[in-house]
């Protein structure tokens, strides 16, 4: 009798492990090859997200109240510095508008409909973050109904934060650029150096220093500290010109042939409430 129970338990454990690992393999295949997950996953995600948003309201409210109190204390100092910036900003804006109009006109003359710099932003609220050390992933409250597609680039108000990895009807998952796993996408980026643009790929992220690594650089142009880094739009998923960050350091690899650039991300990856998904128009 004892033996019978032991066998039964063993079979349950084995079956669970087999089902579990089959599911893991299945979901990785789906994630790598299909544009949307299975129907059951979609329904589950939608339903849970709805409840999550309701639960999140009071807690986010509390946090916002706390934030507003601390912001109120900083307001005077902030106002002083902002006042100085406003004047130059107005001038920039006018200049920007003129250039945009000129750009449009020139494009029309060249018969160029859309270029890599044209994109539309879809704004979404962040409902939750994966409570796991192994995936830096957030869940946003817009999905395929709002026109979001897999692999689109996601930005916060400061700069690039990641890309969409899973799209459901009304929710999506965004993998942050701080993710360091083997399946993470490599953003095609370029350094706007004084001597011209230098193309490369984001190849990694260092958790310790909070710096992105940009590799695959073949150009010999000189890159300076403080140069801005933007997406180049060459990867096919992200538009051109989304700010990634600033160059902190340029290193030669061990053979002295190609250089790697260390980038400080412009966006704060630990403070995300509202993000925008950049949709390329081309």
């Amino acid at each position: 009798m004892q033996r019978f129970f032991f066998n039964k338990r063993l079979i349950i454990i084995l079956v669970t492990i087999i089902i579990g690992f089959t599911l893991i393999a299945f979901s990785i295949v789906v994630r790598n090859n299909r544009s949307t997950p299975t129907f059951i996953q979609q329904v589950g995600n939608g339903a849970v997200n709805l409840v999550d948003r309701v639960v999140g309201v009071p807690i986010n409210g509390l946090k916002d109240t706390g934030n507003s109190v601390s912001e109120l204390l900083n307001t005077y100092r902030e106002n002083q510095t902002l006042k100085k910036k406003v004047d130059s900003l107005a001038a920039h804006e006018v200049q920007n508008q003129v250039l945009k109009r000129e750009n449009k006109k020139l494009k029309r003359e060249l018969n160029l409909k859309n270029s890599l710099t044209d994109f539309k932003l879809t704004t979404a609220a962040v409902t939750a973050r994966t409570p796991s050390s192994w995936q830096n992933q957030i869940i946003i409250s817009k999905g395929s109904l709002a026109g979001i597609k897999k692999n689109q680039a996601v930005v916060s108000q400061h700069g690039l934060i990641g890309r969409v990895t899973e799209v459901n009807a009304s929710t999506s998952k965004v993998e942050l650029i701080s993710n360091n796993n083997s399946s993470a996408d490599q953003f095609a980026t370029q350094v706007l150096a004084k001597s011209g643009a230098v193309n490369g790929l984001i190849t990694g992220y260092s958790k310790k220093t909070n710096l992105l690594t940009m590799g695959q650089i073949t150009s010999q142009r000189k890159i300076n500290k403080g140069d801005e880094v933007v997406t180049s739009g060459l990867g096919g998923n992200s538009p051109e010109g989304l700010l990634v960050g600033k160059v902190v350091k340029v290193k030669k690899d061990e053979y002295g042939l190609s250089s790697t650039v260390l980038i400080k991300p412009a966006a704060d990856l630990s403070d995300l409430q509202i993000v925008s998904v950049a949709k390329r128009i081309d």
Partner: protein, 175 residues
């Protein structure tokens, strides 16, 4: 026979704590995910352990599987890890609780073992599918330690209210 209210409260609480984990992780991301100390919020495990120890719950394995699936589908997008780990946790908790007299220290110990098992297995699976390349020593120092500290602190704070709650609503059942 009266139907126990626990029948509704337990799954609702499980879902609520599960969602709170994600919300807290996002709101306090700066505090939770630091360069050398990562906290994985597992409030739903605290709820599960307290419920198994002090409440009378129908079908704990079923709810554990459902909670695991929700975690996998909603948070990670990789179905399987929690789906396998959570029923094991229910089994472990029941096993340990049967041999020990219930007290604060015992529950704390059970929760400690459960969260260690969850965090380690979760890391093991993600390491196996190469979603992380962190070494075992780094994992123990940077994730396991802070995770245990945070979740046990949560248990210490929630112990008395949850104990009262579960005893109250499970006690109604025999009436």
């Amino acid at each position: 026979m009266r139907i126990s209210k626990m029948r509704y409260f337990f799954p609702l609480g499980l879902l609520l704590t599960l969602l709170l984990d994600g919300i807290f992780s996002n709101l306090f991301a700066a505090e939770f995910f630091r360069p050398n100390s990562m906290i994985e919020s597992r409030l739903f495990v605290v709820w599960l352990v307290m419920a198994l120890c002090f409440g009378e719950i129908d079908h704990p394995y079923l709810w554990a599987v459902i909670a695991g699936l929700i975690f996998d589908i909603y948070y990670t997008g990789i179905i399987g890890p929690m789906f396998m780990i959570l029923p094991l946790i229910v089994y472990l908790t029941n096993l340990m609780y049967r041999f020990l007299t219930p007290s604060f220290i015992v529950v704390l110990l059970i929760c400690l073992i459960d969260i260690t098992v969850i965090t380690t297995l979760f890391y093991g699976i993600f390491f196996a599918i190469s979603y992380t390349s962190v070494s075992l020593s780094e994992f123990i120092g940077e994730t396991l330690g802070p995770t245990l500290a945070y979740n046990l602190a949560a248990l210490v704070i929630l112990y008395w209210p949850l104990k009262k709650f579960f005893e109250e609503f499970s006690g109604n059942r025999s009436v």
